[in-house]
Symmetry: C3
Subunit: 140 residues, 3 copies
């Protein structure tokens, strides 16, 4: 069984955001799948997807501050500056964290660890609504 | 053909560890698969999986030291500190390196490069036994 | 439907290179697939694959300079130095960026974002021709 759909995530501020629930309501079809896989592709080059802690929001704040620290906007060697000071750092963060996830399905549900949630990492100041392509494959 | 199982890796010290063999003995069923894919999901937010050199152990030592260097425990802006000084860096390293791998199968075997092995990157001082969810899909 | 093949990419200089077209001409079979997935595995530990901007070449230049900056060759703690000063940094960059991608197929084509292209990130000074294993799964 193959299912594919593209959804539009609601716009979010620069930072790291827990989007597990927003994805789950879009893929209720997985309740028909016994074993399978969900692939998520964020169709952008200045935002990322990652799995990390779903509990303390300070983890998401600390991650934002860490990536702003190590990929700071003031690198003097940046040439790609015409789209704003936040753009080239956003491209780098996008590749450091990656913009795709593959998550297993077991008995109709995403099989994540107890503390794992899906993060949208918005690296731009005004990133807008991001498009997410969802591809599901499995057996019922 | 779909196969799925969860295994528990033996506990390891903080650092980078080659676990290819520990995984291979858990997925002997892949010898029935001609072309396919193995997805590995580490169900934790303070450890990672990555592919890297399977030969010189100094590569694993240097990787540990590099990540301890660039994600040091003394960032003054960290707010998520109640679980220990090693915890927030572990979350960051987990997302930098990722906690999932997708590896092709060819003629019943993992089809990795000659020098590629699977690393468990344990970012916590006492991470304990880590759970790994294995999902296999392929044709015989 | 499963298809698998190994191709050899043409050698490239150290840096970040757009290889979407070189891959597309190798996977014309995907035009038979309605919904599916392409997995790309670079069978090396000193180069990477990532998705990023396919337009301004300065993005690729800035990414090269950023990774040379944060994974510099002069870390005094590196022990794995016998294969050249560029080797250990190449291993680290390989894991930071990852050496595998999973890309959805829709209606016979890779379904990437408008600005997304596939990069080969060559981290060695003389990396040579890199082997890429392509595994395709989908329904017609």
């Amino acid at each position: 069984m193959w299912i594919q759909k593209e959804i539009t995530l609601k716009p979010r501020d620069k930072g790291f955001h827990l989007i597990t629930d927003e994805i789950l309501i879009s893929i209720t079809e997985i309740n028909q799948i016994n074993i399978g896989i969900v692939n998520l592709l964020l169709k952008h080059t200045s935002a990322s997807l990652t799995l990390n802690e779903n509990a303390d929001p300070d983890v998401r704040l600390d991650m934002k501050n860490y990536f702003d620290d190590v990929v700071d906007e003031n690198k003097t060697y940046f040439e790609h500056t015409s789209e704003g000071a936040d753009d080239m750092p956003a491209h780098i963060k996008s590749s450091l964290l990656g913009n795709s996830l593959t998550i297993p399905i077991t008995n109709g549900r995403l099989n994540l660890g107890t503390w794992q949630g899906i993060y949208l990492c918005e690296h731009r100041n005004y990133g807008g609504a991001r498009k997410l392509l969802i591809t599901i494959n499995g057996e019922s």
